[in-house]
Structure formats: C-alpha cells, structure tokens
Amino acid sequence: MGRRHLNSVFTLLRQFFPPDLSAHYLKAALTPLEQTVAMAAGGILIAIVIGLITGIWVAAGLPGHRAIYAALASVRSIPDLTLGILCVVVVGIGPAAGMLALAIFYSAAVGKIFSDLFRSADREPIRSLQATGASRLSVALFGLLPLRSKDILSYGSYEFESAVRCSVIVGAVGGGGIGTELVGTINALDFRRATTIILLLIALIAVIDTCARWIKQRPALLFAVFPLAAVAFWQDRPSMLAFSHSISTFAGMLPPALPHEALVKLPKLLLETAEIAVGGTFFAMLGGLPLGLAAARTFTPPWISLPVRRVLEALRAIPEIVWGLVLVSVIGTGPEAGIIALALHGTGSLGRLYAESFENIRKDPVRSIVATGARPLAVAGFAYLPLAVAPLAVHTLFRLEWNVRAATIVGVIGAGGIGQALYNAQQLFFYRQMAAYIAITWVIVATVDYASSRFRSDMGLMERYA
C-alpha cells in the first residue's frame, strides 16, 4: 500500500467522525431500533412455537420424524443473511422479511436443539408412562415436556440473545430495522450518521447481553417476548398478507440455474470465499495472540490487561458485516475488505478466548520458568505458549468454521466471493441464478460444519464455543 493510498484511507476514515448525535437524528433512529427489537421478538416467538412442535414430533417418533430432523439440521446450515436475502426477495424490503428470515433460521435451530434435548431425556419415567398404554404423542406431551421444561427455557433465552444480535445484521440486506438504516447512511455517504448507528448498535448489544444475563437467572422473563412479538406481528401485518406476489416470486427462482459464463467464474468465486475465510482467520490469530497474551490477567499487570480487554470487547461488539460495510466504503469492494472485516471481529473473539486459555494453564511450570529469571517475553515463549497450545488450536479451528459462514455473509455487502455474486444476482433480478448461489453456499457451509465436527470428535476436541 502506497503512502498516497494510505492518506486517502485516512481521509475517508476521518469522515466517520464525529458521530451525528443531534437530537433530531437520534429521534429518527428510534424507529429502526424499535423495529429491530420487535423483529427479533416476533421471529423467536414463531421459532419457539415451531421448534417445540417439531421437537416433540421428532421425540415422539411420529411419521416422518427422521426427514424432519434432517431438514432442521440442514436449514440450520444456511447462513442467516442468505436467508435474509431470500426473504427480502419473497416478501419485499422491510422488517417483515427480517422477521421471516429469523423465524426460519431459528425454527430450525430451536427445533433441532429441542429434539436433541427430548431424546436425551431420562428414559425411566417415559417407560412407565408407555406402560399405561398412552399414545406416543401423549407420552411426549405429559412425559417429555415437563421433564425438560427447565432446559427449554434456558435454551430459549440463549437463542433469543443470538436472534437479537442476528436481527441487527439481517437488516443489511433489506430486512428492515437498524441494519437497513446503517446501509442507507453508508450508501448516502452520510458517514457520521453511520458512526451514530454503529454506536447505537454496540449499545443495543450491551443491553441485550445484560438482559440475557437476567433471563439466564430467571428464565420466566422470557415470556416478555409475547408483547414485543405482538407489536411486530401488528406492524408487519400488511406485507405478510401479500402471499400471491410471494408465491409467484418464489416460483421464479425454480429451478436454480447458472448460465455458462457464471459457471466459468464459479471456481474463482469459491476460491475468493475460501481466501476470505482462511485469511480472516489467519490475521485474527496473528492479532489475537499478542492481544490475548496482553489481556491474560496472570501474565500482565492490570494497567495493561484491563485496557486491552476493553479493546477486544470493542472489536468483538461490532459484527463482521458492520466492519465490512465500513471497510468497503473506505478501501473499496473486494476480498481485502472481507479479510480485514473477519480479522478485526475475529481478533476480538479469539483474543478473549486465547486470554482465557492462557489464564487456565498449569501454574507450576510457569513458576519454574519465571524462577530462572526469564524476561516476560521469554516466559511467554517458554511457558504460556507451549502450555496453552491445545486450547488455542481448538479455538482457532472453531473460528475457521465460523468464518466460512461469515465469508459468504460479508460477500453480500461487497467483500467479494460467492456472497457478492449472490447479492449481484438478486439486485439484477436473476432469481434462478441467485437460487443456485444460495444452494452452493448451503452445501459449502453444511460440508464444512460436518467435516469440522467429525475432525473435532476424532481429535477428542469437544470444547464448546459460545
């Protein structure tokens, strides 16, 4: 990168400051903010209802339960933003599309988790119920549901939290709410207002984190989702009734097809997506290692670890797609913006996880290295790094898996790869082509998820990643 180029990047970045905090604009931003929260509530309510029904269906072994379970597992592999694009095409731009996308994605997620929960329930009480000659459905309703009510609530609250995070970003493709507002300000080159929206977004995520903690302690608070969802259903009522238009649009996507010239470009697109995922993970690792070490409270004094932790939180609070939007407007479209976006968010996530890994290593060998009079960096190289290498590898592998999904997502906002091709096809109303790209994305993500989980269980690395 030449000096001139760097200068222009700097000039562009400066246009993002200071944020527009005028009362007038803040008031205007309230509407999309409310839309986002309502959309998440509506989507998750639908998801919990459908998830419960399918979960019980699968657990009771009613007709077609295997097919339903397979369908749930595979729908979960479509990246949320890809679903968002599909829904925007079908029901039109606005929060109804966002809500629908969330409802589909989380129905699959919740349905799968609930069926797994039910299937792992204690068999003893179930058998005694079966002995009374009860039908399979009533065994499920009167046996499984009460047995698992606590887990249902705790998983429900966890999914709500991630649904709100997700509702922030489906807006980026026209799903309504704060995401749509953000894209609007950036497209209008109104960068100072974009900063305002990003700050609002960070604040919203912080509020959600707090609420999620409350809900985890008192899962009954989850019922507050009903009034919020009612608002969403009422607001999105008219557009949801435009069924005939939706069906004809959806029919226009079938069968998926790629013209010859798009087929020729496909390997390049796939390579670009892989580049974004691998490059983003690699640079996230490069950034996460020193920052994670600096954030480890056992390694650095508080006056270093505390501020570094704040930096990591800030990097992580901004979703990949928002980093992507900013970067595309600063350095232009292309995979570079995607790589940097994934690297920035990933540095925040990996940095924190690495810091935890460094804090959890055995103390005795560290003390023995410190006792030789080693300098801090030598202690890091001779003790912290080798002792934490296994958890570091697990976290990095999970990040790579996650980043394959994220790479298709950031493409949508102009960061290259298959995601960008998908978005371009949508913008040009090439719906059959778009459907083909969605199918390809689906296959890639499902394959990587499957390969990664197989690899992990083979290696015995089953640590969960929240």
Binding site: D364, P365, S368, I369, T372, R375, A378, F382, P386, L387
Partner: protein, 254 residues
C-alpha cells in the same frame, strides 16, 4: 560479590497468607557450599520457606540475604538477575511438557538471554547452544535424550532434566522442593545422590526439603526440622557421599 562465609542468611522471617501465619520468625544462616536438608510434615512451612527465598512469596517481616543481596529490595530486572543465580527443582510437573528436552534444559539460560535470543532459540537453536544443553545433560546421564519429547520421560528422568536446567543457570544456590516425593525409594536415592554430588562438585549451596529422615541423614551435612512455621531442631547428618556408592550405575527399568 563476596559477602562473608554465608550463602544464605535469614533473620526473623515471617510469612503470612491473609490471617494465616505460615512462617513465624524463622532465622538461620547457611554456609557457602553447605548441603542442608529441611524435614517436616506437610504444612510445616517448608515450601513457603523456599518460595520466600526467591521472592515468590513476600515476607511480612524479617530479612533474607542471598550472597548479601536482600530479596525484598529487588524489583524487575534486579529481581530477574537475582533469580537467575538460584536453581529450583520441585516435586514434578515443573517442566513444560510441550517443549523438547533441550528447550527445557536451556530455559536455565533465560536469565542471561535477551527476549529475542530466547524466542530465536525456540525456533532455531544454534550448535553451541545445543552443545551447552548436551553437556548439562551429560552431567545427569541423559545425553541421549537431548531432543526427546518431555512427555516421554520417566519420573526419574524428568527430575534429572530439572537438575540439568538448574545446572545451566550456573547457580550459587539450589532450592529443591521435595525433589523425590513422586519417585520410588531406589530412584529417590539415585536422584538425591546425583543432586548432592553435583552440588558438591560445583560448590553450590543446596537447600532441599524432604519427607524421609533416613535420606536426609545419608546425603546431607546438616538437617533442619520444621514444625508450625518454625525451626524446632537442628542436627548434623553424615553426608558421606563417597561412602554411599550403593548404586554405582543408573539402574535399568526402575
């Protein structure tokens, strides 16, 4: 820096963990090159005593002088230099498993090396650095394990590598915290004999906590008994190393 005949001078040392007093006004002076065993039940304060000497546990009051240097007055670079002359061997598990043997051994040189040299050595060890590791391993009879995985070592080999690391430090004082606690009786004798012989050869002061009185009497010139954070008894051991060549060679398969 010469500071009289004493390698270690401790006066009225008090160490507390919160409300709990673990060392209660402990005083002793240890001559240069002396081999001292510290006996006592678990919880007598032996480990805290050793950890106070190289500054891992702060003294609430009292004074610790190693070669005339007061630990409590050293910070940062000075503390690192101070620690670099004190070799430490503990029960077990104080080597870094994911490093190779030569890396663990040369960790003893970290007090003299720059950060850059330390990191470079991990990736690209120079021939002379490997030679230094090899000669330290030769002294503990493990030359053939130079590049072995640390996790592949047996219990006795593990402790000998820890001794080699302490030798690389070129120490004035060696602190051994129950170095044979996880070894069987025969290996315990071999390991202690090696440790004491090396200390005698290089004129290093050795302070070693133990559980077994008979081992203390065999190998050490002086025995300190601790109870409740205080020294309750001192006596003289035999310390006749040359007379105790019970195990002439390192046993196979022990």
């Amino acid at each position: 820096m010469p500071a009289g005949d004493y390698s270690l001078e401790i006066s009225d040392l008090v160490v507390r963990y919160g409300q709990n007093t673990v060392l209660n006004g402990l005083s002793c002076a240890i001559r240069r090159g002396e081999r001292v065993a510290i006996l006592g039940a678990s919880g007598a304060g032996k480990t805290s005593f050793l950890r106070a000497i190289n500054g891992f546990v702060p003294a609430a009051s009292g004074k610790i002088l190693v070669d005339g240097i007061d630990v409590s007055k050293t910070r940062g670079r000075a503390l690192r230099e101070f620690r670099s002359r004190i070799g430490v061997i503990s029960q077990r598990h104080d080597l870094v498993d994911n490093l190779r043997v030569h890396q663990n051994v040369m960790a003893g040189a970290l007090g003299r090396w720059s950060s850059w040299r330390a990191l470079r050595f991990l990736i690209w060890p120079l021939p002379e650095e490997l030679e230094a590791a090899r000669s330290a391993l030769r002294r503990v009879g493990l030359e053939h394990k130079l590049r072995a995985r640390t996790s592949s070592l047996s219990g006795g080999e593990h402790q000998r590598v820890a001794i080699a690391r302490a030798l690389v430090q070129d120490p004035v004082l060696m602190l051994a915290d129950e170095p044979v606690a996880s070894l069987d009786p025969a290996l315990s004798q071999q390991t202690l004999e090696l440790l004491c012989r090396l200390a005698e050869e290089s004129g290093v002061t050795l302070l070693c906590t133990l559980h077994q009185p008979h081992l203390a009497e065999h190998y050490f010139e002086r025995i300190i008994e601790m109870r409740g954070g205080e020294i309750v008894r001192e006596r003289t051991g035999a310390g006749r190393l040359d007379a105790l060549e019970i195990f002439p060679a390192w046993g196979e398969g022990i």
